[in-house]
Symmetry: C2
Subunit: 438 residues, 2 copies
């Protein structure tokens, strides 16, 4: 009888702060990192997953993965794959570990990494890329994946079944379109706050030339700088390209309103993370004040309870789920279902390390089996660190091509472990860091 033989956790960090890649108003010097987990089996494929962090604290997520390991090691593989929803709930509901959340912070990110690794394992075992594996489940099987606790005042299992059944017609046609044309992407690479004006303008033009019709700029540190950069970007790309802006939680409610009124002449498409990610009422107030500029948030949304409130209270125009922040595929499925019910488009957060690789699967699955639409939707794209993955994203003409390899595209290359293991990898040696290990 095959079992999960081990849960191996790794602290991997990339010294991205040296180039200010990823710099924004709240995160001036991120070192993109993965608290990486392998569900090891004795025969058959392993399962890969990770939590994404930006440096310090990656060790805390690794410790949290190890705290869950005793709940996972020795489980029968067929039972895990046969009841992935039950597997996820056993981790998330563990009463002692739950106390550190509930369902938020390091333990929830760790549970999400392990749960995503189990989905990777299941899809590999089935020989299917995750988006196809999920889209081939029945509505009943999908509903069984979800943890319904705390959801039923907004969405019941029966409503979810109806939603999923309504999305069944046309699925094969959509799958064919997806395989031919891919899924829309948008480009954040031009807009990091640490880049010079010249570099930003050059990268914005390149993104448009590459086929993107939505780009994003980081804002929020200095209003005059933001007005200048937004004007330069608008002049560079012209009126036909959408420009979103992202404050990364930097503002209070009044700051957000004041700032966006100054940026409004340059036609921002959305303002992302204007304030604290769990401030449902704050986002709603900002949205009322700055309409028709869209409000977007979600990358730091801890769980489905925050998503539920953001969606049902009309606090946002766009929801941006993250593949690694919440409790894995089942909780993101709950968020996709809620978004479909409240008719809010999902534009997933990506970038970092591996977030593009993961979240493309969820967006493609949503297109096939939940919302059935790509209208108003796009997955964030940043051209960093893909070379470390065995099945890296392929983006062509501003669209993600559908991955075809089995699994969740989460696996890192063996040589990456040696170079970027923290603190002993060669990238963190005194010679590489100028004497400091960060």
């Amino acid at each position: 009888m095959a079992a999960i033989a081990g849960v191996d956790a790794f602290d991997l960090r990339f010294p991205t702060s040296r180039e200010l890649d990823g710099s924004d108003a709240m995160n001036p010097d991120p070192d993109y990192s993965a608290a990486y987990v392998v569900l090891r089996t004795d025969d058959g494929p392993d399962g890969h997953g990770f939590a994404f962090t930006i440096g310090r604290g990656n060790d805390v997520c690794v410790a949290a993965i190890r705290a869950y390991a005793p709940l996972v090691v020795g489980l029968d593989l067929d039972q895990v794959i046969g009841d992935l929803g039950g597997f996820a709930r056993r981790l998330v509901h563990d009463s002692q570990l739950r106390w550190l959340g509930p369902e938020t912070g390091a333990v929830h990110m760790a549970a999400g990494a392990i749960i995503n690794a189990a989905f990777d394992l299941a899809a590999r075992t089935a020989g299917r890329p995750l988006w196809a594996y999920l889209a081939e489940l029945s509505p009943e099987q999908l509903v069984d994946l979800v943890d319904w606790r705390y959801l039923t005042d907004a969405l019941t299992p029966d409503e979810a079944l109806d939603l999923l059944r309504r999305a069944e017609p046309g699925r094969a046609e959509r799958a064919a379109l997806l395989r031919e044309h891919g899924y829309p992407a948008y480009a954040t690479s031009p807009g990091w706050l640490g880049y010079s004006d010249d570099k930003m303008v050059r990268l914005a033009r390149e993104a448009v030339a590459d086929g993107f019709d939505l780009i994003k700029l980081k804002v929020g540190a200095d209003l005059a700088d933001d007005v200048r950069r937004m004007r330069l970007a608008r002049e560079a790309v012209g009126p036909g390209v959408r420009i979103a802006v992202d404050a990364n939680q930097r503002w209070d409610v009044d700051d957000a309103v004041r700032w966006m009124r100054e940026l409004a002449p340059f036609d921002p498409y959305w303002i992302e993370e204007p304030t604290a990610p769990d401030d449902v009422l704050g986002h709603a107030a900002i949205r009322r004040a700055i309409a028709p500029i869209r409000v977007a948030t979600g990358e730091h949304m801890a769980n489905r309870v925050i998503a539920k409130q953001l969606l049902r209270s009309g606090a946002l125009d766009v929801i941006q789920l993250d593949a690694c922040r919440v409790g894995g595929v089942p909780e993101n499925l709950a968020i996709l279902l809620l978004a479909a019910k409240y008719r809010v488009p999902v534009c997933p957060h990506a970038g970092g390390v591996g977030l593009c690789e993961l979240v493309q699967h969820l967006a493609m699955f949503d297109y096939l089996a939940v919302s059935g639409s790509t209208e108003g939707r796009a997955v964030e794209y940043v051209d960093h660190l893909h070379e470390h993955f065995t099945d890296p994203v392929r983006v062509r003409g501003g669209r993600y091509l559908a991955p075809e390899a089995p699994g969740f595209s989460a696996e890192l290359r063996p040589e990456t472990f040696e170079r970027y293991g923290y603190p002993h990898g060669t990238a963190w040696s005194p010679a590489a860091t100028g004497g400091s290990t960060g």
Copy 2:
């Protein structure tokens, strides 16, 4: 120049699950634990603090304390004590560690433990118990402690100054009353879900005989059991004693309403944690449906952003801050100020290990310097594990007596470290655990 010479972290666990002390509908077998931190100085007093957990995952909080240590070791002691608000903000705003929240979960609990230890150190250095140390700060000094980010749409620094100035008259008289009569307490010891009916009834009667006029029962696992236990408790204590009930987040919104309608005939004083702690809209819906039964929550409220929304949206009748869950004294000061503005009484969460010791200081400070009132207020009291502290709480006639020793009452006795250190303490030896270490 005196400095913080070290940040020492300890994993301490008490095997409370062996007696079902602390058992409730969500937490059937807690092992009360402390991720304990000592800010070590070379001369002068050390600072003590801790995060409270219920067993597994305590190591994750210890790892998070260690992740913050490099930000703290070597800091000049006078500068830390002279700007405790700035010290707290430097920890909470650390951009890389913040990514694991923001301001929630293991990293926020760890930051809170360290920040509380710094307040312990400051109060010891001043030779004052923390409640008195805080109450002797000026309104301006108190306002400087608070992290105002994300608060100003609900409460501005100027409004807070006004609130604090209005509470200045009568402070000396209130301090004298506090020293003479103590601060109201309520009793949870009778109501753990794992106790037999007989034990619950006996303990409820004892609590009333000891002077408590508010007791609390755990509910939420089985409706018929809860109706029976509530009836027995009401018969035991009579109509004049208030009985609160606590579901520990067990329900969806509709469950909470249905359940409380069944319990209503026995006159429950409040329903505590009816659903997910960050479900602001859910609590508001429950409150509307079950009025006049009060809704209480807050022990798992991650931060001031959730508190702000709960208070301003009318989602609750009672707010229950926790000394260890949020970012230490400064964030709890923000919550006390918000509660005063929205005129919601604060009944702090306690119990566990050391929560009573800490939170009594915050309630007494609130009485002297913020709300100026004890009306409708009481601090939870559970008679467990106080013997481990060097300055344990003293509860007489249903009231907490004001602590007089300098500091935050957070220090554990040296022999406790040896016995309850995890996993090598004697309480966790194979002989003590029957062969398992939990």
